[in-house]
Symmetry: C2
Subunit: 381 residues, 2 copies
């Protein structure tokens, strides 16, 4: 089985682009990723596209209409908030299968303003999964409160996640926002669903991200190994009903199952990971995922954020990009945007926010309904 | 690279099920395919689901909610009328990549009544692709008329496709209809868009189909090789802009490109094929695809239908299932239903409609917008 490498990866600056079409937004990231690799669309042997809002609308093919219709296979995927990661993973799988040597994965989303709803067509959440609450903020608020009840996690600790991620994003020119949000500002912002204030909810933005995956032989042939990033693990899970906990039926158990499988596939453990981009759709979620991903023991997440271990400069910086809370969360793009961020650090090209000496990085997304995607990346050389 | 085999495959009888949900309809085919292989949902290591109507709705995961949530990876795909074939191909790719040894692919659709519209979210067709006409019937009528202008193909010849496929479906208990439609009946039916009458348009039905794909070692380990069907070729294409013709920009060039690649991958030619399930979304389309798939030379399609070469008992029977014209066309299910039909013949289990001695079969779907999927299957032993 050939190894597969990311040889090009990029994202647009997230924002709001109501005057552009979804394929137009997606094509911009595709062109950026091609430029990053020094390749042309004609070099791509297949396209895997992730989008939720127009999931049945042949978005991948329409992206090729924007930048070059070459007749290659196009696959459109959708998997709630794991949509982008799914597109990437399908592309990676095709290279691993030996079908292609160079493939393009694009994730794109055009969001409306406002908070994420739950239970609609997009998320496809069952009534059972929602525990009687109808919105994402309620689900993740309840999960945070359960953590508080079990471990004494405080409102302030949840709020510190937002302070950290907003601070990180001031160093990321591609984030939606570059604004410091002091603890008091976060805690005094409009309360959406306790303990998450408005600044502790992910930002609905439009965006796109793209990656080019190459087989090892092709990456070497093209002289792209210097900046190549190896995919050490690519794992997905769905709701493991019999193993799940009561409060967050999908999110926790899916993530724990995926993390265990990813570490096993990579032959690595949490201590080997130098940085993590995880699914901070709400501040409470980030706290849960410190433990779900094994970055600390159960009940230690509050201490982790208090001690600065997950901030830039700490033991294992989390969401140095600014995360979904400040970089923004265009659903279909998020999974690939995370891969861009981690790859950029492994390449040593992250500028002010560079995690020094980063060699191993992890990305994590979780879509309710449910799909969790985890990737572990390593600097190739 | 391991070979991959279909070790279980089935479909529900197509019909109209307004009182069932899409996941319920899909789960029925999944259970039938599992029964066919003598396996349980707990044996499946991943699920690939194809659906258009609820493409963003986590249909694959909701199918698992119906029949057993095991936590395995679920990928939801969408590719217009090639959706089912795409789900199957992604599943096959994952087995070829060595990620899994046993995977389930499901295609499902719940359609409304009436004729297929064009240009909506579902098909995502560009204005350019529609040549100024707004509906599928107009597109495929124009394509038929172009064939008439070039080669003298007659209304009667187009109508004979419908007569043949309806006749075939009288022997297929899973087809929507089992009714003979004499030539006069077809030609005198309501004219939809000349030369296609209502009986020359595919039937909008609800339906589902599912397949289980195994690696060679797993198929042998489970003792499933006796009825296993080998995937000799799995190919997809999208619109190859620079190679396309003017009248059917996607359909013809996509199919020709895919067919050439499929024959090459299989190391076979059209003469090796014993039966074909092709995309007869309209009677005119079937005529075009005889030539696009190389079953005859350009301009010879009319003679092929006149001479009975593509009827059961002929040289290369086409759409022995009844085809989209009479079996029905639940978009997301069609690609896998075709694989079921061909597999059933290769296994010698097709009853009255059995193509005697069939060893090699081909399936073909084409979605405007565009995606063509072609598979070549062979009896394993």
């Amino acid at each position: 089985m050939t190894d597969a490498y990311i040889v090009g990866v990029d994202m647009i600056k997230f924002g709001r682009f109501p005057d552009q079409t979804v394929p137009q937004i997606g094509s911009k990231a595709a062109l950026l990723a091609l430029d990053d690799a020094g390749l042309k669309i004609q070099d791509m042997q297949a396209l895997y596209c992730g989008n939720l809002g127009q999931a049945s609308g042949m978005v991948g093919q329409r992206i090729l209409q924007e930048i070059g219709q070459t007749g290659v296979p196009v696959v459109n995927v959708s998997n709630a908030c794991a949509t982008g990661a799914t597109a990437f993973r399908e592309a990676w799988t095709a290279v691993k299968a030996g079908l292609y040597d160079l493939v393009l994965a694009v994730g794109v989303e055009q969001m409306g303003k406002g908070l994420l709803g739950g239970g609609g067509g997009g998320a496809g959440i069952s009534k059972e999964g929602l525990l009687g609450s109808g919105t994402m903020p309620a689900v993740f608020a309840e999960a945070g409160m359960e953590h508080s009840r079990n471990y004494g996690t405080t409102f302030e600790q949840f709020a510190k996640v937002s302070v950290k991620n907003h601070h990180h994003s001031t160093m990321n020119p591609k984030a939606m926002y570059q604004i410091e949000t002091p603890l008091e500002t976060v805690m005094n912002a409009e309360m959406i669903s306790y303990p998450n204030t408005k600044l502790m909810c992910s930002v609905n933005v439009d965006g796109s991200a793209a990656a080019i995956i190459a087989s090892e032989s092709k990456a070497r042939e093209l002289g792209l190994m210097d900046r190549a990033v190896k995919v050490r693990a690519s794992v997905m899970t769905s709701d493991p009903w019999q193993e799940r906990d009561l409060v967050m039926p999908d999110v926790n158990s899916c993530t724990r199952k995926a993390a265990a499988a990813a570490y096993e596939m990579a032959g690595l453990g949490p201590d080997d990971v130098d940085l993590v981009e995880l699914h901070d759709c709400f501040a409470t979620a980030e706290i849960l995922h410190y433990e779900n991903l094994g970055l600390c023991g159960d009940g230690e997440a509050g201490r982790l954020i208090d001690d600065g271990e997950v901030a830039l400069g700490g033991r294992v910086p989390v969401n140095v990009s600014g995360g979904l809370l400040s970089k923004g969360h265009p659903l279909g793009a998020t999974g690939i945007a995370n891969l861009y961020e981690v790859s950029t650090h492994l390449r040593g090209e992250a500028g002010k926010r560079q995690v020094e000496g980063a060699r191993i990085g992890m990305t994590h997304v979780i879509g309710l309904g449910s799909a969790c995607g985890i990737h572990i990346l390593e600097k190739a050389s």
